[in-house]
């Protein structure tokens, strides 16, 4: 079958998709977007977390066909997604993770830019991406893409989370390397930087 959907702001079509393929498989093996990771294939580890119409989901549990006509954001598009959000002020894109999420029109206001495939440089990082590097939250990095998407979505909903909020929001993302302390540090750091730079908002 053919699946039409939007990935990181670009309309895409995937051909010859077998009905049993997951969104994760299509992203990784057909779209050339292997950033979302396959670590358990049963929704237990969160490594494949992407946003589907703004809502964080395990892409391994979403049938590719379910993505028809919908809007997907992966770690590859996270920096631009966050930039658009910042430029529109707070939840300006409407992509604020509440059920119902991003309207297609809003989502298409931004486009992911390619990075240099050798160095990863050439693109700006989102605050949460930079904070993960700065705080030492990346070791093997396999859990990182899913955690970044989940943490970014949490900070969008809850710009100044308590530690308990962070633990709860990210408890669906397994990490085996760090013991999570540096991940906590990174999310706190991103939240703090965000509150320093964000224009004062009502919410």
């Amino acid at each position: 079958m053919r699946v039409n959907f939007t990935v990181n702001g670009r309309p895409q079509e995937a051909d010859d998709v077998w009905e049993g393929e997951s969104l994760l498989y299509v992203l990784r093996e057909r779209m050339g977007l292997p950033g979302s990771k396959n670590a358990c294939e049963q929704g237990e580890c969160g490594s494949c977390t992407v946003r589907l119409d703004g809502v964080p989901v395990c892409a391994c549990l979403v049938a590719a066909g379910q993505a028809e006509g919908r809007d997907v954001v992966t770690v590859e598009g996270l920096a631009d997604y966050a930039k658009q959000r910042a430029e529109h002020g707070g939840c300006g894109t409407g992509a604020c993770g509440t059920p119902g999420g991003t309207s297609l029109q809003d989502a298409q206001q931004w486009q992911a830019k390619p990075l240099d495939s050798q160095t990863g440089e050439g693109g700006e990082l989102s605050p949460i991406q930079q904070a993960f590097i700065d705080a030492g939250a990346v070791q093997c990095g396999f859990c990182t893409p899913g955690l970044l998407v989940a943490a970014d979505e949490m900070l969008e909903r809850n710009p100044s989370p308590s530690d308990a909020d962070i633990r709860e929001a990210l408890s669906g993302n397994l990490c085996r390397c760090t013991g999570y302390e540096k991940i906590m540090d990174a999310v706190r750091l991103a939240a703090a930087r965000q509150s320093e730079t964000a224009p004062s908002q009502g919410a």
């Binding site: 670590a39 358990c40 590859e76 990075l115 070791q139 893409p145 408890s171 993302n173 760090t178």
Partner: protein, 795 residues
């Protein structure tokens, strides 16, 4: 910034760093940007035009003769390019790290549940899976060996009938892989001096490394008949030595490149899909990608040895240990892997970081039909630490002493003689580490209380909302452990570093090329730091790890900073000598200081030890490149005597201590670990940020064993019952407490920069500290890992 941050980075670096980004600084990972943008290429991300997908068919029974294999239906499936069995293997049929007893594909019999039997290559992974399911295998089941009793029974069936390994001659039964006794002093005589004697039987469950990146890789057949392999491993050259004979190729035709590694923890020290993907690629003439799913990953690598440990300790009433006797039985499963080395570790570290002159120790590793076990973080020392630390608490309780004071009274220090007769010849701050975790302020009581009532997220049971504080009891426990660093028992342990220094675009640039596996620990970060410190350059390029340079040895045993760090330091100093030679030749006549032996490279210049700059590296080198590839070794070790266990078997020791604070819902048997503080001597923190990350990660894996992690093998069938993250639980962010870290930097004079291997020690003491805290809260004996709710409620 939230005020709950508990981990700090030392504000001041006291020594070492001579150029920006050198040793002692928390420089950031060079692969960080790639990893946060999704661009970092892990082994499962490899892709090649026209590639096929490989799939393994694994045995559904644990011990059986293979009567027949029928591949015809699988072969007839559209999209299938090859279906292979052992009959199709091109050359050697067995591989193995220490001894080649592991079949590439089972022939004759299968010896454990999940053993590879057949292979499929197809154009889509689902096609490959479905075709594999169509392979018909007829088994004739055999009796099972599942524990010590069945393994050593007089009429026991032998897991391996014709052993040719060098341990076969000294073991007391062919189902024993290796046996290591250690006898020192006279334990029976010393026991007479004891005022109290305690004994215990302890059971340690089978732990999985549970790295998140599954076994995977890509094998590409080459025009010269060889193969290019992109895989995630801990030791490229060890893989190479095992792969080449099975492919019937000379080693130079098997070109291995490290792909991105999604965690390892010992589970990638053995071969997984490397040979199988290569066999399919050579057979089909097409690139073959192979990726295990999580279910298969639980069968695709060795696990931590489950163990039964019997201990007896004695002490005088003033709290001095008199003697220790122990027997440690490790279940090695169906194939050898690294079981002999795990046995050697368990035996030689079984006394813990304590002074005990009179010991009788025996450790054995069994062949059984359980899943094969081998390397995992802590490697034999973990199981022993769980048991001896429980014993320390029992002794302290019996003597009416504080458990920390009792440990401190018996703590080893520099100069202590190990049970193997080896002196501990560098700092061993065991008492100090315990003091530090004990002195730390306690986390506040009833921290779940808030103005809006109980925050259930801070209580045992969490969001299940099982208590608002009723029945919740706090407990505190302590533990300390000792782990060896590096490969022991006479192993020729070395690493190789190729360093190149040249001028590129008007700037001196160093290239570091090693075969060291970056598995997440941050080796690539510190390799650049060392090159900057030694060569005084800013720009360092880390060449991808491959087999075009000499072996770096394994990224395991806490050895890579010591060994590959040492090799880089050594090769850099040889490069420096060459640079100075060139400088003397060109500029020696202009300044008398060139004759000095004390010249350094700093800030891109040749400088005197007084800081005077003599020439820039750019002027010295011009268009000349200096390149050195050199092996570097730690001081030699000796094997342990097979009867007495005596011998200077270890390179270095590492020490960590933990204090665990837990809260237990005693009615439901639910545990919440509130804080797990660690103090560790790291010798020298080359990168403080990474050091803390390693300690916190190791601590959390120990926490997992304490309260949740265990591969459950059905004793009736020897089948694995929980091969998924639904049923095998690892700590989430809600299960993991704050982990404050306090580290000491007491240099080991034998090691480069004084470093001490850091990755493993925190995994040892974490588990027994949590167990001790739960015992403290409940008053229960708890002699098993993991502690499950039914152990606490008695239901």
């Amino acid at each position: 910034m939230a005020d709950t941050r508990t981990t700090g980075i030392p504000a001041k670096v006291t020594q070492g760093a001579k150029s920006k980004g050198g040793i002692g600084e928390s420089t950031l990972r060079p692969d960080g940007t790639l990893k946060v943008t999704g661009e970092f290429a892990y082994s499962s991300d490899m892709w090649h035009e026209d590639m096929l997908w490989g799939q393994i068919l694994r045995s559904t029974v644990a011990h059986a003769e293979i009567v027949s294999i029928d591949t015809s239906e699988a072969l007839a499936t559209a999209g299938v390019h090859a279906v292979l069995t052992h009959e199709d293997l091109p050359a050697a049929k067995n591989y193995g790290m220490e001894y080649q007893d592991t079949p590439v594909l089972a022939y004759g019999k299968v010896r454990h549940h999940g053993e590879p039997v057949a292979l499929v290559a197809a154009d889509h992974p689902e096609t490959a899976r479905r075709a594999a399911a169509k392979i018909r295998i007829e088994y004739r089941e055999l009796p099972l060996i599942t524990d010590e009793a069945s393994a050593l029974a007089p009429d026991a069936i032998l897991v391996h009938e014709d052993r040719g390994d060098h341990h076969a001659g000294h073991v007391t039964h062919p189902n024993i892989v290796h046996r290591q006794p250690i006898i020192r002093g006279n334990a029976a005589e010393a026991a007479k001096r004891a005022d109290v004697i305690v004994t215990g039987e302890y059971t340690f469950g089978m732990q999985d490394q549970a790295f998140l990146g599954p076994e995977s890789g890509l094998a590409v057949p080459a025009e010269d008949g060889g193969i290019d392999l992109y895989v995630a491993t801990q030791w490229l050259h060890s893989d190479l030595k095992q792969i080449a004979p099975c492919l019937g190729l000379p080693e130079e035709k098997v070109r291995m490149t490290m792909a991105g590694v999604g965690g390892a923890f010992g589970g990638r020290e053995d071969i997984s899909m490397q040979i199988l993907a290569s066999v399919l690629a050579l057979r089909t003439g097409k690139p073959v990608k192979m990726v295990y799913n999580r279910y298969e990953s639980f069968f695709g690598h060795v696990h931590r040895h489950p163990a039964k440990l019997h201990y007896e300790h004695g002490a005088t009433k003033d709290g001095k240990l008199t003697h220790m006797k122990c027997k440690i039985v490790l279940d090695g499963g169906a194939y050898m892997s690294s079981t002999p080395s795990v046995v050697g570790n368990a035996a030689s570290l079984s006394v813990g970081p304590y002074v005990v002159d009179d010991v009788e120790i025996e450790a054995i590793g069994l062949y059984t039909n359980n899943p094969p076990c081998g390397a995992m973080r802590g490697f034999g020392a973990v199981q022993a630490c769980f048991a001896y630390e429980a014993q320390m608490d029992k002794l302290a309780a019996k003597l009416g002493m504080d458990p920390v004071e009792f440990r401190q009274k018996n703590a080893m220090e520099q100069g202590t003689i190990m049970p193997t007769g080896q002196p501990v010849d560098s700092p061993a701050p065991v008492a100090e580490l315990l003091r530090r975790v004990k002195a730390r302020p306690m986390p506040p009581e009833r921290q779940w209380e808030s103005s809006e009532g109980a925050d259930v997220r801070a209580l045992p049971g969490g969001l299940s909302n099982t208590t608002h504080g009723e029945g919740v009891v706090r407990g505190v426990g302590y533990a300390v452990g000792i782990k060896n660093v590096g490969f022991s028992e006479g192993f020729d342990d070395y690493s190789t570093a190729k360093i190149r220094l040249e001028v590129i675009n008007g700037e001196a640039v160093a290239t570091v090329h090693t075969a060291a596996a970056e598995v997440g620990q941050g080796g690539v970060t510190i390799h650049a730091q060392i090159a900057r410190t030694e060569l005084g350059v800013q720009q360092v390029t880390i060449h991808p790890a491959d087999t075009q340079v000499g072996s770096a040895g394994s990224t395991s045993a806490g050895r890579q900073t010591y060994m590959t760090g040492g090799a880089i330091k050594n090769s850099c100093s040889l490069v420096r000598e060459k640079v100075l030679e060139i400088g003397r030749r060109k500029f020696g006549s202009y300044h008398p200081a060139w004759a000095s032996a004390e010249l350094l490279l700093e800030g891109g210049k040749v400088v005197t030890d007084g800081g005077e700059a003599l020439a820039s590296l750019v002027d010295v080198l011009e268009d000349e490149a200096v390149e050195i590839e050199e092996e570097w070794r730690h001081r030699p070790t000796q094997p342990f005597d097979l009867v007495t266990g005596q011998g200077n078997g270890h390179v270095q020791y590492a020490f960590a201590a933990h204090r665990a604070v837990v809260e237990v819902d005693t009615e439901l048997g639910l545990v919440k670990v509130i804080e797990l503080a660690c103090a560790q001597d790291v010798g020298k923190a080359i990168n403080p940020l990474s050091v803390i990350g390693q300690i916190q990660g190791g601590t959390t894996q120990g926490l997992g064993v304490a309260v949740m992690e265990e591969i459950i093998v059905d004793p009736k069938t020897a089948k694995v019952k929980n091969p998924s993250f639904t049923d095998y639980l690892i700590p989430t962010l809600l299960d993991t407490p704050t982990i404050p870290v306090d580290y000491l930097e007491l240099a080991d004079p034998n090691a480069p920069y004084g470093v001490r291997g850091i990755g493993e020690a925190p995994t040892l003491s974490s588990t027994p500290a949590v167990l001790a805290a739960i015992r403290n809260a409940t008053g229960l004996e708890l002699n098993k890992t993991p502690v499950r709710p039914e152990h606490l409620t008695g239901t």
